[in-house]
Symmetry: C2
């Protein structure tokens, strides 16, 4: 039985319907951020992207089945933090939170039932339960076309393991769910509307975009200070030092209380580190030790199963959230701790281990283990970010589970996985679902691997060395220390550019780091999404005789004007797909014509980064750490190439939420060429009620490469 | 709410209860084999292994939760074809059929909700739906013991990632399921009772225990014959030639009809091969091509989704089964085809691909996709084995999905996976759940790898080279051809011993190949199961700081008297755990005292095989193929060592079901030592109404190694 659906216009370009009687616990409701309606209005009205009755619901024994028509060549992106491919067409995605996503099942640290079509629409399911989505991986008997069926024996070239399906099917929870349709002219529009629906993208504090170092787990306060000062001595920038489990008085399970043996005076320690320009970030996980002060309070507010012996609190209860927040406020925020690394909220029974409560666990709120598991990552993001908001301070941290509605959360995902290509693909894929991801560096098999990982992480949402277990340092491979130093310094030089890209994320929903299918209007002479199959592709044997098309899943945009194409250990050269227009090697100075594939062989000293002709990149001299609130830094405006052009520079105090109260400014840097061929640059004024972060302004024109 | 359970005595040593109102489609009901009550009675009565109320049921939102108490050191085995470990204590098993079981989640080609405890009981769930079992991987809040919680920071040695749980929890299907409790003095007793409940173990035809070779998929009849004759020329035994997809007129999906282009006269081809002593086995999969003669008949009897464009017939309908059987009977059995390789009945949406109907598919019988997926492997095993039974011929074949109740099915599991250690572990694990498994050889990274794989597969339920894709031959590595020939010939020499071990499987449920925890009564001076942790163990770092104890998951018993401990490529030596008593290297002649670990370094020419002191192994000279019905072979009775002893020899016609009609015999070979130290051997007579398979009898006494 197919039932017609009634869609309600929710915000401009987004429609909503409710199927069944969903649980009161849903990600969008829980995160509770208002859609950015003004920005959505600015994007304009858009027509409902389907014909009447195209999107239908059928009641199946296992739950309501939502079906959406597909065109033959349509590509489907998103689904959260996926490690294995960009285009998910033809796959089934089982969207369960999983701490160990080693197979291409859809499971992930951050599985998100949000599909972005290159045909310019998105489908979003807002639920605290697991959704299974068949992205054209099912073919109904009534829709099976004989002319698509070939003989693998005698028609090897034509036979395909996956037939073209005409529909996408969403198996919703038995009780139902809220469904949203999001319109757009292209995939980027859809993603922007999604992010604006979720309250806009996160704007981290400026210091969050500096370099991060996490120390070995059992380090003492003195060892931490010593390690941090080594950064200063060696001229490696560093803004944040992360402490791992050893700072807790007990772990695992944890107490959230300082261990006197290693940190006899935490307040003094944090203050001392702050004086040297280091913020402190604390590791924690959700499971509360019987020895924690919080234990007795949380005991009646916890689930029916323990994890590592610790309580699994029911943070869908306000009372539990309050207890957590009070403890964190009084013992961490009050002494200046800058934020958290929220680990292991994705423990999953699916990996077969015991490090999570079961799906059948019961919680005092009436919610069950499946719901709490799917939502735990969001719950910790919300609790902690609200704590900082209450103090009018921004935070930036790490999270190992996320879901729908996380766009506005100032958290970056990470994983215990470590395949470098998967790490870069995850960076690309995160951009479809309002997620941020760090390809963190932990160790390396060689100096080459070390450099390649360090170069790439410096062009990611969080540039971090996580030495918790291996005790590595940026200078661990002395023969390449100078290369690593150069890139960490380069990240600091790009701080004004990176920060502006995040401000745009917050303001209009454009992800600061984005996969190639999201390159659209900003690409000269190209209005549609970049199509991986439109360019010449490699063909490799795949399982069941299929051909695997090359996806440009190993390169991405940073902001509007930089394209980064990492090399991986063992590679001397690589292909890069450049969108239309002229490009310059940021550090090689070579000129490239876009609209196709170029091959580069930059040597170990360089990561291939390309800058658009006419781009104006706001930079600053390298510095040991980001400027403090009120501190100034010089501005270096770098114009590249031969074309006239412009760039945007965002400014606010970098640390508080004053920007939400009007204390922010966008400045425009424009470069024109005079009749005599000389260049003129104009930077609009800092017309705002707060002091500018930028002091002296310096211009470079017509650059072919970085000065 | 905990509900007390009412247990009904079902057969001696086995109790049953029904929870809820289960579907009419269940594995035991579908397989429909009567329990071997006589053999069960011979095992004697056993007390119900739990106290009243120990095993309880609670109704949860997600389904009924069955809970079973655990003792602290209890070990839990079984769960079907598991690749990653023997003892599953502390793990969660998600028992979904999965074609690509690369992670330790419980999913498998043959997931079986049957847990065998070393405390001498088993719990079996008979359902066509997915069951999740927490094998002590959950700890209830009320049962969390503070004294078990250590601090990972400061008590590294004591901290454990998995706390000891006091219970096992089974999340049953929403609608309920039948539950069986099986008693026993030890794990072997429990496994035997399980196999007898399922109708006893499979007894393959004698030829099934010869060597198997599967040819490249597009081979013609002439190429097949040529390849087969090369076996004869080179003196490599071979009984079965398997044809891969190329024999179908169309594939994939398939027609089950011969392709004239490669097989112009199938009847002649099968007869010609038979004359040379080769049986023909046919590959197929479940999905029916629109070009198949069967298509129109099966169309109204099929599921609502196609796979590879082919029908997914609803074989829970008698009408569909009849159509399949009639076609197979008239086009395959009638011309002498010996059996099938039933591929891809385990396609799973979980791997993210589209090569299976979805769980929400609907079938004309009213059953759904989840049920048909979980049951497809069993359905094909039953349909095909019944076809042969109707003709009073035994079959032996290959299957890629199985489940509860498969013990009596003459099918051997295989996988596209290829890790050699996992393959041997799977062989061990299969023995807990009434399954047979082949560590088939396909290709090798080196001559050493080739030899190690070939040696091991010759001591498995099916000795097979599967050259479908790689075109390998046993002599593919000429430098080691002699070693491979030796072991394939040795398998043929052991035919009387192997066949007797299978007869015992059929008669009293003892698996012919068994994991070390199933070594009990046969081990001198040892009544309990061999405990992996009772012997000195290696300690390696594992995730989350835990210690991984050595499981003896890389060695196994073949029958009662041979212990096989394969070496793997790259290894020069290995540890072997030998049960109590004296052992001899079957080919090295070295003497070992059991009851502990010995180290062996046999060189590439040998696989470590140990024979028990006093064992009498019935053998025969090597032969090109197994004797045909009515043909005789010499019997060589090999007595090993210094102790008196005995062996059992089973005989029947080797091909028909006459053995079920009384035409079978067990003969006893006894060896005594006279006062003067000389040996006497006695073989009981062939007191039966059918001709003996054995001609001339030869004795060897006091062997230290094979003659």
């Amino acid at each position: 039985m197919t039932t017609p659906l009634q869609w309600t216009s929710y915000v401009p370009g987004i429609w909503k319907t409710t199927i069944g009687a969903p649980s009161d616990l849903s990600p969008l409701a829980f995160i509770g951020r208002e859609p950015k309606t003004e920005a959505l209005q600015q994007m304009g009205e858009a027509p409902f992207p389907f014909g009447s009755g195209d999107v239908a619901i059928e009641q199946k024994k296992r739950g309501p089945l939502l079906s959406v028509p597909l065109t033959a060549s349509e590509k489907l992106y998103g689904l959260g933090l996926q490690f294995m491919k960009l285009n998910q067409r033809g796959r089934t995605r089982f969207l369960r939170v999983n701490s160990d996503p080693k197979q291409d099942t859809g499971e992930s640290h951050a599985p998100i039932p949000f599909v972005v079509s290159d045909q310019g629409y998105g489908i979003l399911i807002d639920t605290s339960r697991i959704v299974t989505i068949h992205l054209g991986s099912t073919v109904r008997l009534a829709e099976t076309k004989k002319e698509q069926i070939f003989d693998r024996n005698n028609q090897k070239g034509q036979w395909k393991a996956t037939l073209v399906s005409e529909r996408m099917e969403f198996l919703l929870p038995l009780e139902g769910a809220d469904v949203y349709v999001i319109a757009g002219n292209n995939a980027l529009d859809v993603v922007r509307r999604y992010n604006l629906l979720c309250g806009g993208g996160a704007l981290p504090p400026r210091w969050g975009l500096g370099f991060w170092h996490r120390v070995p787990t059992l380090f003492t306060d003195k060892q931490v200070a010593e390690e941090a000062l080594e950064y200063r001595k060696r001229e490696f920038p560093c803004d944040v030092i992360g402490l791992e489990p050893g700072w807790h008085s007990k772990s695992y399970p944890v107490t959230y209380e300082w261990y006197e043996g290693r940190y006899p005076n935490p307040k003094q320690f944090v203050a001392d580190m702050d004086r040297e320009g280091f913020r402190i970030n604390l590791w924690e996980h959700p499971y509360v030790s019987p020895e924690a002060g919080l234990y007795e309070k949380l005991l009646p507010l916890s689930g029916s199963y323990t994890v590592w012996g610790g309580l699994a609190p029911d943070y869908s209860l306000e009372e539990a959230r309050t207890a957590y927040r009070e403890q964190h406020r009084s013992e961490h925020l009050s002494i200046g701790v800058s934020g958290y690394k929220l680990d292991e909220c994705d423990g999953s029974e699916l990996t077969g281990n015991s490090w999570m409560f079961p799906a059948h666990a019961e919680f005092p709120s009436g919610h069950d283990g499946e719901q709490l598991r799917q939502m735990y990552g969001l719950m910790f993001q919300k609790m902690t970010s609200e704590l900082y908001r209450e103090e009018d301070k921004r935070t930036y941290g790490l999270i190992r589970a996320s879901g729908v509605g996380a766009s506005s959360m100032p958290y970056v995902l990470y994983s215990d996985l470590y395949d470098h290509k998967q790490f870069i693909r995850a960076l690309c894929n995160a951009s479809f679902s309002g997620l941020l991801w760090t390809p963190e560096v932990r160790k390396a098999s060689s100096a080459e691997d070390w450099v390649r990982r360090m170069q790439a992480v410096c062009f990611s949402p969080m540039a971090m060395l996580n030495a918790w277990g291996d005790g590595t340092k940026p200078w661990s491979f002395p023969e390449v220390e100078h290369i690593v130093r150069h890139y960490i310094q380069l990240r600091m030089r790009l701080l004004p550019y990176l920060y502006s890209a995040f401000a745009k994320y917050h303001q209009d929903g454009t992800p600061p780091f984005r996969a190639m299918p999201l390159v659209t209007g900003n690409v000269q002479n190209e209005s549609g999404a970049v199509s991986a199959s439109a360019v010449k592709v490699d063909t490799v044997d795949a399982a069941y005789g299929g051909n695997k098309k090359k996806e440009w899943d190993d390169q991405f945009m940073v902001g509007d004007d930089l394209l980064v194409a990492p090399l991986f250990a063992g590679e001397q050269e690589r292909d890069v797909y450049l969108p239309h227009g002229r490009w310059f090697g940021l550090e090689s100075g070579e000129t490239y014509e876009g609209g196709g594939v170029v091959r580069v062989a930059p040597g170990l000293e360089q990561i291939p980064v390309f800058v658009r002709d006419g781009a104006v990149i706001p930079m600053t001299p390298w510095r040991a750490h980001a400027p403090r609130q009120g501190e100034q830094m010089p501005l270096i405006l770098c114009h590249f190439g031969e074309a006239e052009g412009s760039g945007s520079l965002y400014d606010d105090d970098g640390e508080s939420f004053a920007y939400e109260r009007g204390e922010s400014v966008w400045r425009k840097a424009e470069v024109k060429r005079s009749a005599d061929g000389s260049w003129t640059g104009t930077l609009s004024g800092h017309e705002a009620s707060f002091p500018s972060t930028f002091g002296e302004v310096q211009w470079h024109f017509g650059l072919k490469k970085l000065p």
